[in-house]
């Protein structure tokens, strides 16, 4: 590999917005190569200028189509826009949702748009680091709006969307009971509520339900100086997107001073915790005889909790030697 450029040397061209350098750093961050880690640290310390928008919604809420429309709208307003989409995919064979991404392909030649789809391969926890590292890379590359799109199902997916400055939760009319129940779990992290498919007649009910929930004091997010708006949109009729983009900016303004500091601290705390937990468990598992212990647990001569105690105790005394 004669043309292999060390990751540290990619930081400067990436900072000038050179797509080839950005793409290489992202691929290396996504693969979590050890060579890239020093660069990721340096990039983290330089980043922090972009407006990061987390967008989440249950399956079938139409959020991917919405993101494609948003990208067009933000580009038309002269913004440099990046999208990091976390795709649910097989934990065994891979395979991310290409259809939704392809709808954005008319943007493929626009240098001020960057779209990256990341397949989770069943390990969303690990994905959280990589996705937020990718956001930092896009941040130093000068993208001013970065959208993280996740399916709002599963704790990790919701946490990733919430590790942003502005969290948008997409609701849609006409989903089943079970989907609605899952949705209930994400409404409370919203800074902005969007109801998609407002061309449908049953969308009024969805809007009304959301608004009445907000009147009851639920779903306003956690920021004291902000009340989450409910915005209706139709990707089909291209409605609601100006209002949504305006809400992004309004929410960003609301983060000036203390609210923004609190938000950044919350995101940092999440990233630190994820990184520390992963590192701790990596060390623990490398130094412990999990397989031997599992055999005893399988024979039911010892229960998993006692076996776990023993492993943790052995690890701690190992660390002291």
């Amino acid at each position: 590999m004669a043309d292999y450029i060390p990751s540290m040397d990619l930081i400067e061209p990436a900072s000038k917005g050179e797509t080839w350098a950005v793409a290489r750093l992202i691929s290396r961050a996504e693969a979590n190569m050890s060579e890239v880690r020093e660069a990721i640290g340096e990039i983290y310390r330089r980043a922090g200028n972009a407006h990061v928008i987390g967008l989440t919604g249950v399956p079938g809420s139409g959020k991917s189509t919405m993101v494609a429309k948003l990208v067009h709208k933000l580009r038309a307003a002269g913004r440099r826009v990046a999208v990091v989409a976390i795709d649910p995919s097989s934990p065994y064979s891979g395979g991310s949702i290409l259809g939704d991404r392809i709808r954005m392909s008319d943007l493929a030649l626009d240098r001020d748009v960057f779209i990256r789809s990341m397949a989770t391969h069943g390990s969303v926890g690990g994905m959280a680091h990589a996705a937020l590292d990718v956001v930092d890379i896009l941040d130093i590359a000068g993208f001013d709006k970065i959208i993280i799109e996740t399916v709002g199902v599963g704790q990790d997916e919701v946490e990733i969307a919430n590790a942003s400055h502005t969290t948008v939760v997409v609701s849609a009319p006409g989903l089943g009971d079970e989907v609605q129940a899952i949705k209930a779990g994400i409404l409370e992290i919203a800074d902005i509520h969007v109801v998609s498919k407002c061309d449908r007649s049953d969308s009024n009910k969805t809007m009304t339900d959301l608004k009445s929930m907000l009147r009851d004091g639920i779903g306003h997010g956690v920021q004291p100086n902000w009340r989450a708006p409910v915005i209706g949109s139709s990707s089909f009729q291209e409605e609601g997107f100006d209002e949504l983009v305006a809400a992004f900016d309004k929410h960003l303004e609301s983060l000036e001073g203390e609210p923004g500091r609190a938000r950044r601290e919350q995101i940092s705390s999440f990233r630190l915790r994820k990184a520390a937990e992963a590192l701790m468990l990596e060390r623990f598992e490398a130094q412990s005889d999990f397989d031997g212990a599992a055999t005893d647990v399988a024979a039911r001569t010892v229960d998993p909790y006692s076996a776990a105690e023993t492993l943790v105790r052995n690890f701690s005394s190992e660390a002291s030697s």
Copy 2:
């Protein structure tokens, strides 16, 4: 609390199938009370007789209705049946799906049926222990078929369903692209495929798609001496359930000897790993200054990975003192 009975003393009545004792142990296991842990260990060592069936499917696949029908069918065949349903619910305000459970309420007075709905409250990881502890309690209480029902979205939910002797994956016709992609992630853990809603005309396509996938060698699960069948069912027309119950028994037979040993080892390994990881992280977080480190990370003077390194290093040297 004059009538408080220590958990260790509940084991005997629970083993005789006394519902009040079973219910108390389950509530304590679910709350993860420290008093119950010794009893859980003892219960684990006594358990291992029931046939544990994991049943999972994407939202909208009709699996809860299917479980209700299955319970009736298994009861009619003279089996003692228990259901542990892991409900997706708000990570913030709680609120599990009651509707589906209520459909089973006609069984509420049958002593040989036990149905427990567990809300995840956003922490599915922690739920895995509790759910499998509950399965052990039901096991020593003499239930011979125990169904664990989860939404097949998110790594933890899928792992819980897979921590069973027989994993059933429910597919349904007419779900959207995004749901189908999520579904793709769970097909490969199936020992038995069920297509629900076979009264619908578009269910033929779902059956054909699944069968052609199996012909391509995908979706057969991991057990060398077993080929996953595809069973059509209709809860509405009460079709396919005899076949499904027969498939449960046939799969159980296939687990005799080495395949069953391998399966038990895999489940034990999963439970041990979850327990050990939780315990390790609990110790780590109790002894580390996460908040202080997060402040530096928020100020971007240090990146999360370097800060994590420091925390892990400090913990290890702490353990040695």
